[in-house]
Amino acid sequence: MSVEFNLITETKENCVVINTTGYINNIGGQKIVDEFNNRFGNGINNVILNLAHSNVVNSIGISFLIEIIEKLNQTNGKLIFTNLDPSIDKTFTIMGLFQFAKKAENIDEALKLL
């Protein structure tokens, strides 16, 4: 069951890896976007969002993720989701996120896609 939302960020090559824990809702989504905005630019144009410890997301959280996707699309950047819970994978598929973002099994596999 999800606990309080938290995130840890690391930089790998020209990519920022955001590791989340907990419910991606209004609060979680805003934190992800804020973190993205802080890191975006400065040579970083790709984002890996590792959802290994987030198995619940609501549509408000998704709207924040779409915001990131739209911003990256303007600069030909990429967003890759990793370690998706099957229910989130299905939700993202239905919401059409994978038309503009990719998914990978884990962070190493995601880095190969960049």
Partner: protein, 535 residues
């Protein structure tokens, strides 16, 4: 205007039309409002040779102007000149730092405000410039409406996709929780899904027994119960099962503009999740009940196999006598019992007993009778003393409605002398000289009363060719489909008239006769018989 000037205007307008088309193409691809505004400023700069282009936007008449593109901070002085009226306003100046100040109201009640400086070459705006500018402003109007429509389309797509997600998740959750056998896991899953699909910040489940809280679960874990349950923006529903109330609460519906009210769809979804949980709880209950029944069934099977060991598999060989017995319980554990045991003094103990009722309790009493009888009979007590002891033991070991009828006989094989005692059992048939003598002397059934009632034993002498049939009322009361009993008369007649060379055949035939009488009617009582004849 001469022809040359006229042709020049035509050429310029033709050029502007091309610029409008290119401009609209650029503006309609804007990813955001800021992007739209910035691109519009670039188009103006390119077409009017003006670098000082400042653009503002406000969401409604009441809100403040926000800068979209700010080149010259001095333009803030002119903000009061941006009038929020119902139609587009254009003011052209030749004596100020700025040459154009314009306001454009939009269909969604928002406004664009434009403050433009002077041309780079310091020339005044021509009439054509002014007309062109108004046309470009119209272009912004069209592009903005296109932008709004695109956003509406996106929102509509998002909303439709979200509905599909809700339906899918509802189905998936139903399937997932039906596979879960641990209540806590299914509660957690349903709370997670209910919150995420309704955009609730919190979901809570309270399990109540009356007003007492048995359990409270919240999603997200470790959240503040008080905050979630005291929110003014919340919806609730409950289901009840087995005396417990399961109260579900969704609290604080999120939106990008803050907390909003839950809608009817949210209430329907919450009720659907609650029903799914109820179905899962019922299934879990039935599953546990099935496991418990299986366990009880196994215990009964074990008890039945223990009881079967009390019923003799083979009877002892008594020189000069032929004997056979049978016990067919109607349930797994019967309440009938018979036995033949050789005693230390060479005599034989023969017993048949019938416990009032059937099932496990009756089986336990049969075991008590068997153990007690074996304990006493080998000691030098008289048969009446043994019956007295047994009465006390059975009385103390059983509930008031339980008692045992039994017939006990001690056979001295060489002489054929039989001492018997009938404790409330149906009369035992003794055939002597082609007449039936009913052996019924003895006393009350064992365990019926706690009084020191005297038991009385009697004696017979079984001669060669004579026979005795011990039986329980499961034979005489065996009913056919018309409710007719096999009857004492039938059994008497069979016993008296049928001559079999061996006891085994007699038993076999009497059972066949009873079954022929009952036909397909289920056996309602235990059937037990012991037959002995002297050769």
């Amino acid at each position: 205007m001469n022809v040359v000037e006229y042709n020049q205007i035509i050429d310029k307008l033709a050029l502007q039309v091309k610029s409008f088309q290119e401009g609209f193409s650029i503006l309609s691809k804007a990813a955001s409002l800021k992007n739209l505004g910035e691109n519009f400023c670039h188009i103006l700069r390119a077409n009017f040779l003006i670098s000082d282009v400042n653009l503002f936007y406000k969401i409604s008449e009441e809100t403040e102007w926000e800068s979209i593109r700010l080149v010259n901070k001095n333009c803030y002085e002119c903000l009061p000149l941006l009038t929020a009226s119902s139609g587009a306003t254009f003011k052209f100046y030749t004596d100020k730092k700025f040459s154009i100040i314009a306001t454009l109201p939009q269909v969604d009640k928002s406004y664009w405000g434009l403050i433009i400086g002077n041309k780079i070459d310091n020339t005044e705006l021509s009439e054509l410039d002014k007309i062109s500018f108004q046309m470009f402003f119209q272009l912004l109007d069209n592009a903005y409406q296109s932008f709004l429509n695109q956003n509406k389309e996106k929102q509509l797509n998002f909303s439709l996709n979200h509905r599909v997600v809700q339906l899918n998740s509802l189905i998936d959750t139903g399937i997932e929780i039906s596979k879960l056998h641990k209540s806590s896991t299914l509660f957690e899953l349903s709370l997670e899904r209910a919150a995420s699909l309704t955009n609730a910040s919190y979901s809570v489940l309270k399990i109540l027994s009356g007003s007492q809280i048995i359990s409270e679960i919240i999603f997200p874990q470790n959240s503040d119960f008080e905050k979630a349950l005291n929110s003014t923006k919340r919806i609730e529903t409950f289901v009840e099962f087995n005396g417990l109330k399961y109260l579900f609460t969704l609290s604080e519906k999120e939106s990008r503009n803050g907390i909003v009210d839950f809608d009817q769809t949210d209430e329907i979804l919450l009720a659907a999740f609650a029903r799914q949980v109820l179905a899962a709880i019922e299934n879990e209950h039935l599953h546990n009940e099935a496991i418990e029944n299986e366990r009880l069934h196994q215990e009964i099977e074990t008890a039945a196999s223990i009881q079967k060991r009390i019923i003799p598999q083979t009877l002892p060989n008594i020189k000069g006598y032929d004997l056979a017995g049978i016990n067919i319980p109607s349930l797994e554990i019967g309440g009938d019992y018979y036995d033949v045991t050789k005693l230390k003094d060479g005599k034989y103990l023969l017993i048949i007993a019938d416990v009032a009722g059937k099932g496990v309790a009756s089986g336990l009493l049969v075991n008590t009778l068997n153990a007690s009888l074996n304990a006493y009979v080998e000691n030098e007590f008289t048969l009446t003393e043994v019956a007295g002891f047994l009465n006390k033991i059975i009385y103390n070991a059983s509930t008031p409605e339980k008692y045992i009828t039994c017939f006990i006989a001690i056979l001295e094989p060489d002489s054929g002398v039989i001492e018997y005692l009938n404790a409330g059992h149906n009369p035992i048939f003794y055939s002597s000289k082609r007449k039936i003598i009913k052996l019924d002397k003895g006393g009350l059934a064992l365990g019926m009363l706690d009084f020191e009632l005297p038991y009385e034993s009697s004696f017979i002498n079984i001669e060669p060719g004579e026979k005795i049939l011990f039986y329980t009322d499961g034979i005489t009361e065996a009913m056919n489909e018309n409710g007719e009993e096999f009857s004492d008369e039938n059994l008497e007649s069979f016993f008296l008239n049928e001559n079999y060379n061996c006891a085994e055949s007699f038993i076999k035939n009497i059972i066949e006769n009873v079954k022929k009488h009952t036909g397909d009617t289920p056996q309602s009582d235990d059937i037990t018989a012991l037959y002995i004849c002297r050769r």
